[in-house]
Symmetry: C2
Subunit: 286 residues, 2 copies
Amino acid sequence: MLLKDTRVCIVGIGLMGGSLALALRGKVAHLMGVDRHAATRQYALREHVVDQVSDDLSLGIQMADLLILATPVQTILNLLIDLPRLCPDGCLLFDLGSTKQTINATMGALPTQFQAIGGHPMCGKETAGLLAADATLYQDQTFILTRNGRTTPTIEQLALELSATIGARPLFLDAVRHDRITAAVSHVPYLISAVLMHQAAMLNDEYVWPVSASGFRDTSRLSGSDPRMMLDILLTNKTAVLDQLNHFQITLAEISDLLISKDETALAVWLTKAQQTYVDYRAHKE
Amino acid sequence: MLLKDTRVCIVGIGLMGGSLALALRGKVAHLMGVDRHAATRQYALREHVVDQVSDDLSLGIQMADLLILATPVQTILNLLIDLPRLCPDGCLLFDLGSTKQTINATMGALPTQFQAIGGHPMCGKETAGLLAADATLYQDQTFILTRNGRTTPTIEQLALELSATIGARPLFLDAVRHDRITAAVSHVPYLISAVLMHQAAMLNDEYVWPVSASGFRDTSRLSGSDPRMMLDILLTNKTAVLDQLNHFQITLAEISDLLISKDETALAVWLTKAQQTYVDYRAHKE
């Protein structure tokens, strides 16, 4: 099945689902958007983000060959549980959920008439919602694909074609490894960012924002993320996040001890190593 | 004394001193750059960053009415200790040091023939050195000024004129308050950024950089800062940094506990509050 002949229904047309719709516009047979917010549906229709909107998932399923779940993780899990009842004949299924183990396990347990693969595009913005959607959001970004018990060559090929169509770089990764890496490079950085924002506010000093500069702007940016989305992520990736937080606390305590004991040499070695790692990381990204 | 009639010597023509030189070019009577690196001096002269260069601070002092110390903090402190000997007649004195309590105390103890004020421009880049210098670096950024026992109306007026000339926004702040706020919005965010970078590298997973996206890019950016500069900052602002680190760890442990106990409601409240603080902060900055 080719993407251009596929009728697509995106469930949740916020930042991620809306950006996907904009990137897929005109490249699929039919594009439907299901969203529970009337204002979002009206905007999506008025701005031709999709061909058709509904608040009724059953209608979306009826209209589509491929269902793409683009809501927060817990909503994806709830939808997956409802799907066998709503869609007894099965369908092609894809998701954009930010954690993959629980979604993958639930997808893998669907009836065999479903063909499903998990997805997680490694991009985003701290601003949620369709108004922030951008057709180029996925361009040149890594799009992780995770196979599960319901993954067939058909859905895998369709997911690869979708990734290519929106200009992303597909990367197959198992769900456990995905969740461990994203805990370190996304979920814990978010929590840390929120704690930094909390600490700055706790100073209760009218000059804290005037004094803050680009360093604070960048380290605190993730604290502006949608709390609902982040809460689902933290709760469905609890083990890996807590493991990373634990290591983070240990390392931070070690650094504090070096500072307390004024161990200038050891501190310099540690800071230089972190800088070198940053240089290696940037070199990889360029 | 007007800035246009002032002969200026900048000691340390790296990112900050070099950017200041570029912003002051043609607006002062004479611009001298003192730097210990031959390559930096050659580049500064060839690119007309300054009118004259030297590796000899005595010569710089001889040529200048206003001396601006733009080196890492510990070097500024060492220079301040040498100044009475190198410059027995005193001079007008300004600095760009990132922490202010120790510098201010040392400045305030100079002989009375010195007229001095502390400065800290709240801007920068993670890339150090003259090659990264930029004439617009100070534009619209907060420039903190801290008075000390050697601050006179003459040097205060000159510092204000300098700030206006480079397009910065002056803000008078006492040194203790400066160091407390910068610990929260700059020094601890730097350490946190370095720990995040360390944690990601410790995963030892070839896919960690491909999976990382803009959130990690921004939260980890400060880890690329010059270790020498940051070490001086941490050591001369040890008390405020350790105090902030301590609070940071307590808050992080509280968040971990909420996650361990799956207290979804309390977590949602906390994350939403952090997001709201971020919104308030951005509103202030716009």
